[in-house]
């Protein structure tokens, strides 16, 4: 995965996710929208297959990089919790 920052200021972040799809980005968006400091979080692919998705995040004055980092760590924690529950269920 390669990330390209297209736009970045105090409260806005536009990023290109090379080779990523709904699998991760939908999860990331859902996680970001749970955060009250986020004004909007969305992503769009100009032309499917040919273009990389662009993720757009706007916050209510907080550092978007920090908020994105926290959302990513929440996903990591979710995966850990899932793996733990899953392995326990399989016995």
């Amino acid at each position: 995965m390669d990330l390209k920052i297209i736009k970045k200021d105090e409260e806005e972040l536009h990023m290109e996710f090379e080779g990523e799809s709904h699998t991760l980005l939908n999860l990331l968006r859902t996680e970001l929208l749970k955060d009250e400091r986020v004004m909007y979080a969305t992503y769009d692919t100009k032309f499917t297959i040919m273009d990389n998705p662009i993720f757009k995040l706007r916050t209510r004055g907080e550092d978007p990089l920090e908020i994105m980092k926290q959302a990513a760590s929440r996903i990591t924690a979710q995966c850990d919790e899932f793996l733990q529950c899953y392995n326990a269920a399989l016995g």
């Binding site: 995965m1 990330l3 920052i5 990523e20 799809s21 709904h22 699998t23 991760l24 939908n26 999860l27 990331l28 968006r29 859902t30 996680e31 550092d63 990089l65 920090e66 994105m68 980092k69 990513a72 760590s73 996903i75 990591t76 979710q78 995966c79 850990d80 919790e81 899932f82 793996l83 529950c85 899953y86 392995n87 326990a88 269920a89 399989l90």
Partner: protein
């Protein structure tokens, strides 16, 4: 988060996931299908093909044979290999296939140089050879993910649905809903009242709601409970497939976190 096992077979797993978002359940489903790497025959060289099938058809059939490896981690995908995609034993598994008619060529006739790599199922027919017909093929398999081509898809039939919640109110004991249900979710008990007997089979089609003249039944999806069904192509056990999918998502989320930390 809670996981309850419903069904477990070598090639198929069904479990109930509670306390997760739809995005997470969908992430697992999508990752099982397109982000978990597996081996598949990638390029072939035909030395002799006098069978009734065209070369292209033979190559298509060979590509779609599911392959298993004792240890898949010893191989890297061509993009991540130290040879930078040029092709080396680290990212390629060579095979040969020679057959002479009259014979039916099956998947097990494909012989790999690495004894740890085998076809997942024996007895997949490739081509029928008549008297005097010959097939001599050499080539290699590579490790990639389903997002590159469906032949590398290790999860084939993967899906999820919300767990339904069926409430029965003022039942008039007509039994119409029991008859209309295509999956036998409902049944009449001793007092002729309708009862839910097989909740997990319910597909939320809501035919019972339409059929009931007294509006006694409600069917609603439980928003944070999901029934996931994951079926593999035999190249990897279904239970391991789910673990790999979750690890794949975790790895990517971790990478985003690291990149964000680098930038700020």
């Amino acid at each position: 988060m809670k996981v309850e096992l419903i069904e477990l077979r070598e090639d198929r797993i069904r479990f109930l996931l509670t306390g997760a978002t739809a995005a997470f359940a969908n992430g697992i489903r999508r990752a099982c299908m397109s982000e978990v790497p597996t081996l598949a025959i990638d390029e072939i060289r035909l030395y002799d093909n006098t069978s009734v099938l065209f070369d292209e058809q033979i190559s298509l059939r060979l590509g779609l044979i599911p392959l298993t490896a004792e240890d898949l981690d010893v191989y890297s995908s061509p993009e991540d290999c130290i040879c930078e995609g040029a092709g080396c034993p680290g990212c390629r598994v060579d095979f040969i296939l020679t057959a002479e008619g009259p014979k039916m060529v099956y998947s097990q006739d494909v012989v790999f140089t690495d004894p740890g790599v085998k076809v997942a199922f024996e007895g997949i027919p490739v081509v029928v050879l008549g008297e005097g017909e010959k097939l001599v093929v050499e080539g290699y398999a590579t490790k990639r993910t389903g997002s590159a081509h469906s032949k590398w898809q290790s999860g084939t039939t993967c899906g999820y649905k919300n767990l339904p919640r069926i409430d029965i109110g003022d039942c008039q004991k007509c039994g119409k809903c029991v008859k209309v249900c295509p999956r036998d979710v409902l049944a009449l008990d001793e007092g002729d009242r309708v009862r839910v007997v097989n909740l997990l089979a319910c597909s939320l089609c809501k035919l019972c709601i339409d059929e009931c003249d007294y509006q006694a039944i409600t069917v609603t999806p439980v928003p944070d409970s999901f029934v996931l069904t994951i079926e593999g192509d035999g190249s990897i056990k279904a239970k391991d497939l789910v673990v790999k999918a979750a690890e794949e998502i975790r790895h990517r989320a971790e990478m985003i976190g690291e990149k964000m930390a680098d930038l700020s």
